[in-house]
Symmetry: C2
Amino acid sequence: MSLLTVGTVALDTIETAFGKRERVVGGAAMYIGLAASKFTKPINLVSVVGGDFPKSELKYMESLGIDLSGLQVKEDEKSFFWAGKYHDDLNGRDTLTTELNVLADFNPILPEAYKKPDYVMLGNLTPEIQMQVLDQLKKRPKLVAMDTMNFWMDVAWDSLMKTIKRVDMLLINDEEARQMSGEHSLMKAAKVILKMGPKILVIKKGEHGALLFQDNDVFFAPALPLEEVVDPTGAGDTFAGGMMGYLAMQNRLSKTNFKKAIIVGSALASFCVEKFSNERMKEITQDMVRLRIKEFEKLVKFGAPL
Amino acid sequence: MSLLTVGTVALDTIETAFGKRERVVGGAAMYIGLAASKFTKPINLVSVVGGDFPKSELKYMESLGIDLSGLQVKEDEKSFFWAGKYHDDLNGRDTLTTELNVLADFNPILPEAYKKPDYVMLGNLTPEIQMQVLDQLKKRPKLVAMDTMNFWMDVAWDSLMKTIKRVDMLLINDEEARQMSGEHSLMKAAKVILKMGPKILVIKKGEHGALLFQDNDVFFAPALPLEEVVDPTGAGDTFAGGMMGYLAMQNRLSKTNFKKAIIVGSALASFCVEKFSNERMKEITQDMVRLRIKEFEKLVKFGAPL
């Protein structure tokens, strides 16, 4: 099944306890596309880059079944650029530079072939742009999922609320869920957010796993305990891309499949952080994902105690 | 099977977002005893209280099969007293008062009948006192477990290390594991700590669940997502007591049983925090624990995605 995604395709300079990488590829849509491509195609990508974005990386994405006819390449401009330094415990990071560049006046234009997607993943961007993408669709997709962040809650609450009403599944982290709902308890936060529009809510807790809320059902996907997290950049997008790619491949939106999908997303995210940028994701096959999922099963499986 | 436990039996004044309770019963050994009594007896308790500790609570503990012949009652003195206020997010707390009182010169004396226990749970206390309890044993127990805290790492590192060498299982929280090992990654921390003596390590992560390390095996017990946590006091001790009580009841120290035990401990802890002090634990039956464990199963169970 086809998956449409919109989001940044960017250059990142990343520093962690394990080293520094300058101007490596990043961005939500890049990570979403790579992860989803393990399971489904075509992936129709809407974004914008400058002339400085490596052509080899674009070719690589195309080789995975990612259609880039919706990617605007502005040769005379520069790609969106982010530089950040992670704290040694990887639980926080300081942004050193954010240059919007081509993103400053990004106007997402969907090629005709993108306008009837089966699945849609709106990566973190201004809610206005996310909505502009939905406005161009000619058919109601089977599932529209969306990511967002605290910043849009601060500066664009009204349009965020309008956009959220039109999506089926929202994926945010625990702090974002708390801010959005005004509730500290994630159980209470979920109830509030599920009244804002989405029928399904995923709350990502980073190294502490993720919660999936559908109707009155709660499911918990653990994070695999890792000895080393080399670079957390893109883990959340990889998680979302893996989840949506898997759902598009299965193409049956049962409660069971959402549970499986969140495990698949967690497995992919656990790979993503093992190397810088998209280095590790380039090495991953579906067989490797299958083996890692076995580790998730082993991690939480227990017999009836009583 | 018999379970010997040493730890505080105390009076607590607790304030949370849900209210305030003055001079209610608390203490590690009280919570451990109550939790373990759901599964095994006798529970032989070594501790000390003053004349201000409610006799009705002592009678209640005896009614559960908790033997109090090792509990010194110093009628003319006051019980160990702690007052604290939890932050609204319950992730932190401020200690307002700590009065050692009877604990200041506590000398644990084991009655003869306590000296050949099958299972031992050393609640958080000075490592010296924990060691004095082990020194009085006339038989190697089947399993010796121990809790401790950062404070003893700061002020009594050497005797802590001596005590740890003599225990089979250590239960500490994530911050304690990081301090003890000098490693931020819990996977690395576990490797370091398992070289200090214990064969089994449990790292408690509060609302984020708990990790169980045995040999090269890692198991993860989630915490049940709760709408409201009324009072977190005693959750860790209830967890440990439930784990040890269950292991004593099963009396077979297989890897599988340790996994089941940590789920049982998590289930009991999830009850403990629903009311103040030991109020909720007084209401819990083994049937209620069984039903809650079903919720844990449902929370993490998924079919093979690939």
